[in-house]
Symmetry: C2
Subunit: 584 residues, 2 copies
């Protein structure tokens, strides 16, 4: 037995296997995931695993390595989030999202930091040795809302699109702020004296870290799009470039101490439309599928590891500090949302209701990012206290808030996501209004979002598309594409319902066999049509059609763990019955 030789890949494979099997296990009992969010179940599995490891080895189970988390587990999730980000609501609410992400996070950091420092001054709690800087450092890591946790919960409760993008967008973009504040306070902790220059440098860094991330991401994204121009003869490695360039953008940003999350999101959003146009349909399915798969596995692993890492002896328990941390996290988040929304609502016609505000505040879940950051802290004598407080805050938000948010959404009757997709009429009207508003803004000299959107679209079609798209000479109107898609769908439906045989096959079809001689099935079709008379063929088709049905795959618009086209088998069964009924 030579275990050492294969240990690393073997254990990684086993962990992934455990995560995947756990996921299958939950879904075998349909009732479980509808009550408890998957993230809670996974943490629970992790806790049990941790307990087993602890019991067997009699020492703390291995903690999730922060490097592994930031370098390998986080990027797939963020890439998936960025690639499937609904860009219209995102850019429509970008101002509000940035306000929440930047000002809101700073508000939380300082609020939590200073009030915890106040608690530390109470002598009875025996916490006087925790300095203000350490409290602020702790505040900077505990304040940030976690995209992984938010996604895991919000994708299950189906709130309206605006509310979803506000919480989710904030959780993604606050990374720039968190990175800056966390690194700033950490370096302050190690400095003997802090000059005012350092503080101003810190403020300047916000812009560098955020905008630098966007810049790195966009440049890699456009390079990716440019590369896929040339993959016509090597279709099989096309999907790879999407992953490689996104990952490189993340790593490069991290290397220069910029925000990796912001970089990978800009990369994904920047490349998406060009890559989709360049690569083949199958490559695109693979890209989408693999992104979903990868992020799903990463997310599962993160929650399981969170559970495993909770068990062990690296906690220092101090009731007052831990309780007050939790209370302050909730209070400052609520206050922040209230105050910021007050300003946002003054400048917007479409206001954020108080119900929405409650859900935004309540949806501020903490997760694995805080957890990894707290382990990355430099060693000092109260680190274990911080670890314990972070663990409690994460478990509280994920378990209590995560499990109660769905009943609360039902109770408050928060506006839900519209179930039906917009009709063609609505889509045309939306586009018409966009053009109209861009025109109005242009005439009135107001450089608003429609003006910029129009300019960007012009720049895109004038320059970018020519450089980045392979077949630029054939731009297809989206209405033509839609028609094409409908026609194909219609045809497949006809074939499946067995109604294709009503008209005789067109003679030109007989040439298909010769032209696609490489293709086995078409050749066979050809042979069949050569040897059988049309009547016999029609009869055969009809008889077979009544007993044939392949379930068509259609599904809801956006869900993190499924690709479009994977659900509602009952509807199809119903449809099938109706069709059979009509036929007979």
């Amino acid at each position: 037995l030579d275990y050492q030789h294969v240990q690393v890949p073997f254990e990684i494979t086993l962990w992934i296997m455990l995560a995947s099997l756990a996921k299958i296990g939950f879904h075998l009992y349909n009732k479980l995931p509808s009550v408890v969010p998957e993230s809670c179940l996974l943490i629970f599995v992790g806790l049990i695993m941790g307990g087993i490891i602890y019991g067997l080895n009699d020492r703390s189970p291995p903690v999730m390595d922060s490097d592994i988390f930031f370098l390998y587990l986080l990027p797939p999730i963020v890439l998936d989030a960025g690639y499937f980000m609904p860009s219209r609501p995102f850019f429509e609410n970008i101002g509000t999202i940035l306000l929440y992400a930047v000002v809101g996070t700073i508000w939380n950091v300082f609020g939590i930091g200073f009030s915890l420092y106040g608690i530390c001054q109470v002598k009875a709690f025996r916490l006087q040795d925790v300095s203000l800087l350490h409290n602020l450092l702790f505040g900077s890591l505990i304040a940030a809302v976690d995209p992984v946790a938010v996604l895991a919960v919000f994708e299950e409760i189906h709130v309206n699109e605006k509310l979803h993008i506000l919480v989710f967008g904030e959780s993604l973009l606050n990374d720039a702020v968190t990175v800056v504040l966390y690194k700033l306070f950490r370096s302050f902790c190690e400095m003997p004296t802090i000059k005012s220059v350092d503080v101003f440098a810190g403020i300047g860094k916000f812009f560098v870290v955020g905008l630098g991330g966007v810049l790195v991401g966009l440049s890699f994204g456009l390079t990716a799009a440019f590369t896929t121009r040339f993959t016509k003869d090597t279709r099989v490695i096309e999907p790879l470039f999407v992953f490689l360039y996104s990952y490189l953008s993340y790593l490069t940003a991290e290397m220069f101490h910029l925000s990796g999350i912001v970089a990978i999101i800009s990369c994904a959003m920047g490349m998406k439309r060009y890559v989709e146009a360049n690569i083949s349909l199958k490559s695109h399915t693979t890209v989408k599928y693999f992104m979903k798969m990868w992020s799903s596995v990463s997310d599962t692993l993160i929650f399981i590891f969170l559970g495993v890492s909770t068990i062990g002896e690296n906690h220092e328990w101090n009731w007052p500090y831990i309780c007050f941390t939790l209370i302050f996290c909730l209070i400052w988040r609520a206050l922040g949302v209230l105050v910021l929304t007050f300003f946002v609502n003054r400048f917007h016609v479409n206001t954020i209701t108080s119900k929405d505000q409650f859900i935004i505040a309540y949806g501020g879940l903490r997760g694995a990012i805080c957890f990894s950051l707290v382990f990355l802290l430099p060693d000092f004598h109260r680190k274990k206290l911080f670890i314990a407080a972070t663990t409690v805050v994460i478990l509280f938000t994920v378990f209590v808030q995560g499990m109660t948010i769905r009943p609360l959404v039902d109770l408050l009757a928060v506006k839900r996501k519209r179930e039906s997709a917009p009709t063609v009429g609505e889509q045309i009207h939306i586009r018409f209004l966009d053009h109209l508003l861009a025109g109005i803004e242009d005439i009135s000299g107001h450089w608003g979002q429609y003006y910029w959107k129009d300019k960007l679209e012009y720049f895109n079609s004038k320059y970018l598309q020519k450089i980045l798209l392979r077949e630029y000479d054939q731009p297809k109107s989206s209405i033509v594409l839609l028609y094409e898609k409908l026609e194909r769908k219609h045809a497949i439906e006809l074939a499946e319902a067995g109604q294709l045989g009503h008209g005789p096959p067109h003679p030109s079809l007989l040439h298909f066999g010769f032209l696609c001689s490489n293709d086995r099935t078409v050749t066979a079709d050809q042979k069949l049509e050569d040897t059988l008379s049309p009547e016999v063929l029609n009869n055969m088709k009809e008889i077979l059609a009544r007993n044939l049905y392949r379930i068509r795959r259609t599904g809801p618009a956006y869900n993190r763990h499924t690709l479009p086209g994977e659900s509602e088998p009952t509807e199809h069964a119903q449809e099938l019955l109706i069709l059979r009924h009509k036929n007979l």
Copy 2:
């Protein structure tokens, strides 16, 4: 700048990126890959890269780590090979393949080992310090034909299926022999005295290593099939199981010193039919696509690394030894093939022609496996000589034989792969003959391959399918499946040719919109049909159809670097023209 933090993933990503870009680069100039095999070009890129690294750092570039090769680069290629292995020709020729793989490899090992030992006795060559055991050890690593190199060359020359499977199957299955002999001689080298018991134990190990690999692989493969029974609600992680279980089978086999290659091939071949039936169509596309992508990247990386590792100072040059190694490799391979084929032809009606024999002997390419094994040798004073000899043999076989085999195949007019797929009639006859022969064998009491195949099929449908397939209660005849596929294809073709609109849409279609209300396009279809009269709709369809064409994707049957359905755009253009002509 914090490079250290991201170094490992960054460099890995960059290497993969280099490999992928190199691949794209070759295919930009269509003439290049048709003359020089891709593997040669990649080694050449590697040589240049190695030269640059050597020039800049003034020391040997990093060598391909044997662990990385065996644990991460080899499995994807073998998995791909196993998963897409044409099982019928493989099992039809299994006897011949095993003979070549086992007896042929042993023949080569001892032939090369003893004759090199003879060369070492010549005083003028100054090689007397290389013992017989070391020569045999060297023979065991240099004798084995390499699957990666063979695949890379043979997929481009399109020889007939039997010839292809003979060389390729041998290269895969000789792994068990190589593992045993290599480990045996290596342990003999470290032993003070060798007893006859050890030699017999070595012979017994052949069966353990080979059959053990098959057993490990099959058990993991069937577990994988069983697992995919339960993935109906977690479609997105379905493809993962195919990869996880195959990889686990490889690692487990390696852990127990069994043949990992044999294990992963049995795993892939064992699970394929059940997994395909259980998982969704999109999952299956992803599995196939990702396997191709992964193996393609691995294979590219291996050849680039081969090139990079060649540059450096770990070579000891000894003209006689290196030249004689090369000569003996060629001679013993040719002799082995001649002798073995003589016996094979005596027992078969369908003999292997002398042209085929020449190609089998000439196609015995050496590759990265030899290279990794030679670096794994225990340190002794002549290791560098062995490295140099191995490098020369690999470069000679890949460059000289790899580049000349295509012209030779043309020159000798070796029977090629049939271009067209078998017709339905042929398929039905083949199946009929199978049943007939199984019956004859059963009556005559001869337990031949048809008898066993029939028994296996019975066992499969009686027990295995019931356990491993999700929807066993609806077994579909393959002729029904074929019809279904034809009907769909026909429908799409009709739609693309714009001939679907000739008949009025059936009233039952109007119900589709209500039933699939989640799906944007169908709803839109519904809306369109509600508001427009059938005549207007038909007119619209016809007008649009003349200007619409989406290229259908069809392609040749098996190619390692492309998935079915990715080629021949010219044919489609032709077809398009014909269709338009007919319409106008």
